[in-house]
Symmetry: C2
Subunit: 871 residues, 2 copies
């Protein structure tokens, strides 16, 4: 017989897979003697069995649950369903990975009319408060009814009685609320609120299992790459009460500051409240430091336990606690979510404190999380003049500027714009919108509110608890305390470091990458294996790349230089030329421009390699689209408007992604490849005079057949050789190809005969291997996620099973022919952690990514190297 239910004293922290994170930690705390209310855990296996059994909890599992329940009755001396001394329970979900706010909790389970009626004699207000909470949570979690319907009843009552805080509600009020809640439940369900505690328990466990597959949970898992197959455990625990009297309370705290990493106890609490009051952000709580004054003993106890837990887990802990009538209980501990800044400081401190090794420190930082450090901050000059319209809690650091919208739907409609999501308080339904928006602004909620926790996890700037703002979600306006009005689409800026909200658009500047970041990256560099290069098109990019530790440039997209305002006309002249002479005249002009660009980049990069990709995009991308633009261009180029339009139309393509682009352009117009080669030569000659020797790597894009490469290689080498002869210089060039067409992978052996290096263009390769146009796939891929066909976006994380296999084939074929061939990758996957790990493992020589992602790539490859050492 499988064991599906564990008492807390049967488990340990190493049993996360079956007990879930929360359950494993409750068990562990019990084992090490912390004051944890007693309870048991229904395992993740039980959850998975629930699904494979057709959404049914088997008799076997039911029996195991009731056996443990009976043990709990014995241990607590209370009886489930007893009128006098009833055992009341909390039922909480707990998956292997922490999923804050995603799963559901039911408190005070076990109450019914009879019990409440009996206990009213001693504490009527308290017991009715518990009952109304239970009814509302049960109705929400088990039946899926709208919480706000229940909340409205309370709000209405408070309005009628003209009171602000729930605490001011009397016992009569509570009784009335319970009565109205029960009526509402009856109206919604057609049945009475369930009175049998066993039914309440089984229904609640079922509801937790079911919640594993609610939409919010699925979205969260998708964003965090959590497999659907994990399932959730259910924690059933004796209730303790923070809302029993003023000697009671509840709070959450971190052993170190989750925003900065500072080594001080950090958190907040509410007197006479239950845990949900804090997490939901309904009341704004007090800082934990004030507890020292109010309840010094409790504070000292808590401080001791906090230190003990950190020592035990060797990581910063995020704890929940409840004080019941002067007695402290620890309800939960887990490794705390933190900002990346904090994460870096904490691992560096833990290394200093000799608590963890350097390798452990490197492994502990999620590489993709570094991104949030590498984002811009506000330009201090603009910041000085920025007008503060409100101040809230600095819930998640960073700087964001954008147009404000009041719901997720509107945000999702504006994927190309910078947006700010504004909400009174966010709920799990806002996750998609938060992911898309540049920043999040809420009126209610503290550091541990939903908005704050989720935003920090995403590395998204968030200002929460801006209580001076009046947000009208229906009419889509914000009114400030001064009476200033902001409407949907207006610009605001958020300072997640200071909790400030600024009027209008405030310019941002490059991030500061010194201090902890620099120290951590130095640690990383000590095990770095893969070479990390940057994709960089300008002098500025190249400089940024160097600053972040790039060892070369893996991709100069020459066409990006073509789009500059002062050049596009010459490019258009070249494309629209009617004769080779006209085209050559335009090319001559472009050659000068390109030469100076190359010269600048070469100069910055010094002896590091620079890979120059020849012209790639279809020519129509450079041409004007609108009637007016065409007319202007015709005038400038002194061409007939109709002729010009016809020419532009003739360049249009059905599927430009697979059209006349890449090496196909230079095959039709070799003069373009010749111009680009001459520009490289010119740059080299100029730098040669300054004593700077560069090693250009010439990269031909979109090769699918070795003959394409051969044709262009011959033309390019002819230019290079003739330049070397006539100018008497030596150019240590290499000629290689992008590998981005499936056929290039299949025929990589033949191509390797001619190419000195390969750079996998995984963006295009992914498009063609799947047959997905990236510009169009967004539309249907959302269905793929919701229908569980895909777990992750292959344009973000390399598809190891398809694209990856083809890469492995190509590598094998290529190294077979040319063992020392240089192999790299310059798609966006080059800056994504799990992809970089894969690239490290399949033996690439380098990855090239955007300058801001270099640290991520370096960290990911270092982690892969450490893991490979360990295996």
């Amino acid at each position: 017989m499988n064991k599906y239910v564990y008492s807390f004293n049967e488990g340990s922290k190493d049993m996360r897979d079956i007990l879930g994170g929360k359950g494993a930690n409750l068990a562990e705390m019990t084992q090490i003697g912390l004051p944890v209310p007693k309870g048991f855990i229904v395992t993740t296996d039980a959850c998975n069995k629930y699904y494979t059994d057709g959404n049914v909890i088997s008799d076997d599992i039911q029996n195991q649950i009731f056996t443990k329940l009976h043990e709990l009755e014995n241990a607590t001396g209370k009886t489930f369903g007893s009128l006098e001394n009833p055992l009341l329970l909390s039922v909480r979900s707990g998956a292997k990975a922490s999923m804050p706010g995603m799963m559901d909790t039911i408190l005070n389970l076990g109450l019914n009319d009879e019990i409440v009626q009996n206990l009213e004699q001693t504490n009527a207000r308290f017991i009715n408060d518990c009952y109304r909470r239970f009814i509302a949570m049960y109705a929400d979690v088990v039946n899926g009814y709208d919480k706000s319907l229940f909340e409205e009843i309370i709000t209405k009552l408070k309005q009628e009685k003209n009171i602000q805080a729930d605490n001011d509600l009397t016992k009569e009020d509570m009784k009335q609320i319970v009565s109205e809640f029960k009526n509402l439940y009856h109206r919604l369900s057609g049945t009475d609120f369930p009175q049998d505690p066993k039914v309440q328990l089984l229904e609640s466990v079922t509801a937790v299992f079911r919640s594993w597959n609610n939409e919010r949970a699925i979205v969260y898992r998708k964003l965090n790459n959590i497999p659907d197959s994990w399932g959730t455990a259910v924690n059933v625990q004796q209730m303790v009460y923070g809302n029993i009297n003023d000697q009671s309370g509840t709070g959450v705290a971190f052993t170190r500051n989750p925003a900065t990493g500072e080594n001080t106890l950090y958190g907040e609490y509410l007197i006479n409240a239950q845990g949900e009051d804090i997490v939901a952000g309904v009341r704004t709580p007090n800082p934990i430091s004030t507890l020292k004054e109010i309840m010094p003993n409790i504070y000292d106890q808590f401080y001791k336990y906090a230190k003990q837990l950190e020592e035990h887990y060797l990581d910063m802990q995020d704890m929940e606690f409840t004080i019941e009538d002067g007695k402290l209980y620890i309800l939960q501990t887990r490794n705390g979510k933190r900002t990346t800044q904090a994460a870096l400081k904490i691992v560096l401190d833990l290394v200093s404190e000799n608590k963890i090794s350097k390798k452990e420190a490197i492994l502990r930082i999620e590489p993709n999380s570094l991104e949030q450090l590498l984002h811009p901050t506000f330009d201090p000059k603009e910041l000085e003049e920025a007008k503060i319209i409100a101040k809230g809690i600095a819930a998640s650091p960073g700087a964001a500027t954008g147009k404000i919208y009041f719901d997720t739907e509107e945000i999702l409609k504006r994927k190309d714009e910078k947006t700010i999501l504004v909400r009174i308080e966010t709920s799990p339904d806002d996750i998609k919108g938060m992911h898309q928006a540049s920043g999040v602004l809420t009126v209610r909620g503290g550091m541990t509110s939903h908005a704050a926790v989720v935003a920090r996890g995403m590395g998204k700037c968030c200002v929460s608890g801006c209580e001076t703002l009046i947000v009208d979600e229906k009419n889509k306006t914000i009114t400030t305390s001064n009476g200033d009005l902001f409407k949907e689409g207006d610009y605001l800026s958020l300072n997640g470091n200071l909790g400030e909200v600024y009027k209008g658009e405030v310019k941002t500047i490059d991030p500061n990458i010194t201090g902890d970041f620099e120290n951590f990256m130095n640690l990383v560099s000590s095990v770095d294996t893969l070479q990390v290069r940057a994709n960089a098109d300008t002098k500025k990019d190249a400089e940024t790349a160097l600053r972040f530790g790039a060892k070369g440039i893996g991709l100069v997209r020459t066409e990006h230089m073509f789009f500059n305002e002062d050049r596009i006309l010459t490019v258009q002249e070249m494309i629209l030329a009617d004769t080779l002479e006209e085209r050559q005249a335009a090319l001559d002009k472009l050659q000068k421009m390109q030469a100076s660009d190359f010269e600048e980049i070469f100069k910055v990069m010094g002896s590091y390699p620079v890979t120059i990709r020849y012209l790639d995009p279809p020519l129509h991308e450079f041409l004007p689209k609108t009637e007016a633009e065409i007319k202007t261009l015709a005038k400038l180029l002194k061409k007939n408007v109709t002729d010009l339009k016809n020419k532009i139309v003739s360049l249009k393509e059905f599927n430009p992604m697979m059209g006349h682009r890449g090496c196909r352009l230079a095959i039709t117009y070799p003069e373009i490849a010749i111009m680009q080669t001459k520009a490289i030569i010119d740059a080299i000659v100029n730098l040669d005079k300054l004593g700077i020797t560069v090693k250009p790597e010439i990269m031909i894009p979109l090769v699918g057949d070795v003959n394409e490469l051969n044709y262009l290689k011959e033309i390019i080498e002819q230019e290079l050789k003739s330049a070397m002869e006539t100018k008497g210089i030596d150019i240590a060039y290499q000629i290689g190809t992008m590998i981005e067409v499936p056929r290039a992978c299949i025929t990589a052996g033949e191509i390797a005969k001619e190419a000195e290096f390969f750079s996998f263009g995984t963006n295009d390769l992914t498009q063609m291997v799947y047959g997905f146009s990236r510009d169009d796939a967004e539309k249907f891929l959302s269905d793929y996620y919701s229908k569980k066909i895909f777990n992750q976006d292959p344009f973000v994380t390399i598809d190891q099973n398809g694209v990856g296999k083809l890469m492995i084939t190509a590598i094998k074929l290529a190294r077979n022919i040319r063992p020392n061939i240089k192999l790299g990758i310059c798609g966006e996957h080059g800056g994504e952690a799990s992809s970089v790990e894969f690239f490290t493992n399949i033996g690439l020589d380098y990855v090239s990514c955007s300058p801001y992602r270099i640290p991520i790539a370096k960290l990911a490859s270092a982690q892969a190297a450490i893991r490979n050492m360990e295996n």
Copy 2:
């Protein structure tokens, strides 16, 4: 030392690779004692060496040429350059494969002013006629000057003297022409016409080598899949003269009729002419049968040699002969080009005559050539009423109707229309146009004129020698003998079987496939291995498929039914539905329509398998494009025009080929897949009542990940299973996938776990493996051919090296998981001969192609089977 030059008596017919076809046959005929003028052959190796040496004939090769020239002087008793008894030469190209009209010939080489002056004393007209021809050909072939400039001189002289035929030119006329030709040559080149015979010879050999890479030759090779690497040999041969007097003449003949295959000598000749006069179609020649009356001895000799050659080569021969002052010479023999009808009759006859085996007969028919038999002919009813406007020579059989154009350029501009190329006479420059046009009409030239030979080779309908028509190529008009005028763009119809030209458009009907064709296909069926199925979307297609011997349908494109005029509105209703209810209402209507289509097809195919592909193209393909169409549709659907436009715009895609199509549609809209499944069920239920049991194969398009298939398979199987239960019938269905996305090949093992069959969609697979959008690639692929990057069109002939390798990978992975998986292909390659051979060799179970290509696929697979038996 390599041997680069061979005497005729040093070679044989088995030395085609180095001697070329013409040279090998001249050597062979010399060896078996036929009267062949003596000569020698410069090999194809010499041609290739010429190119690798940088377009130079090495000293070694020059020496070998002059050594053989000296031997030829000794053998003929004539001396090269002698005033009294000069050795005059013909220099002709000759590649391994016959390339009629593609390469260049120079006659009478060795003449110069001095020699002509000396020989004028005996036959002034003749020697000047020879000299003027030599100058013109040399100027054309060696210098590349426009032939028409020389022809104009003759035309002008004839006009001045008011004579029709060249034969009426006097010796003075000829002298004048020579003199004017020499002046023209001087004007064009700036130098005198070369007087040194050795220079003439070397320059001519060089010119032949060079002509291997002229544009016409490259086009011809591309159309005929001849590798560029073969090179051409050069035949240098003593001149004999058909233009010396009226006891002289020249002709060409076939041992059997090349149009019908009938076993009678067939050909034509001209008295007092040189060979080029016939081939060029300048004068209209006499049928060979009339030679019997004029020169009975010569005729008998020729007849004997013809029979001897056919016995020797065991195939129909195409011969050139010259009669010089009453003596017969055979100048060339080769296996004759023939129509496919003739080819079938000839191999069947040769089998009856016990000259070749059945297998040999099967191997001798080029599978792709069957296509010309399978094309439509005129509807006899329409033909009865068709108005004949001219009668010419039935140069190449078939029926063609289309708009007339007078040059290749105009034809190429109209790829989507049916066109007829009209020319006074065609030249090699017209090859591209002939390939594109539906038919070819010329005013001059007989059965062996350029137009006739090339058209027959292409299987293109051609009427030549329509001398009653006045064609004004400049003003682009045809005037008939009645004075009727036809302008560019007017419709004409050509009957290539009768040589008739009809006014307007004459409707065509399906081809007759009985007689020799049927007998031959029966022969083929005796060794057939691969199953051949048809791509068929309608009852009519299915019937045609059965008639051509299909053993099932490999592809029903369900969307083709959607495009019918009476259905498109319902399809649009479905696509533009605002609610699921609206969509379902439209789907219900479509279900009825699809069910009746499926029923018809199933009924025709009986127990043969029918593969139904679910909806594939992006939805926007079904929507109106123009403002007016949208307005009409809005009215019909009772929708707002702006809303409709927005919806249509929102469905637009950047790269529709890789967008929301294939299985991606049904994943977003499962109701479409459900509708199609229900339609299949409805059809099956109806047929079940008639006692007809069908075996549907349900095919999911564009699968790239097994989860896509799983998702839809579950939905479809649910419908099928529930139908089987509720309707109490048994459906022997299979569910499989198209394999057309590269990732499907790479992950074929996983997909094979779920798919009962694979059908390779090689059209899309080729697009994605190369990253070529077929709609756009045409533009740049022409550069690929001219720059020799590609030898063949991968959309016509399967790319064995890339796409093919991926197919092999997929087959291996799939059979590993599911050994009995059914594997087929339903791209257009399924009807192309060399591709079918490849598919046979890699072990596919079936190919599916358009009904008209079934015989081609059957023949190709039979040939592959025979070759595999032989190896």
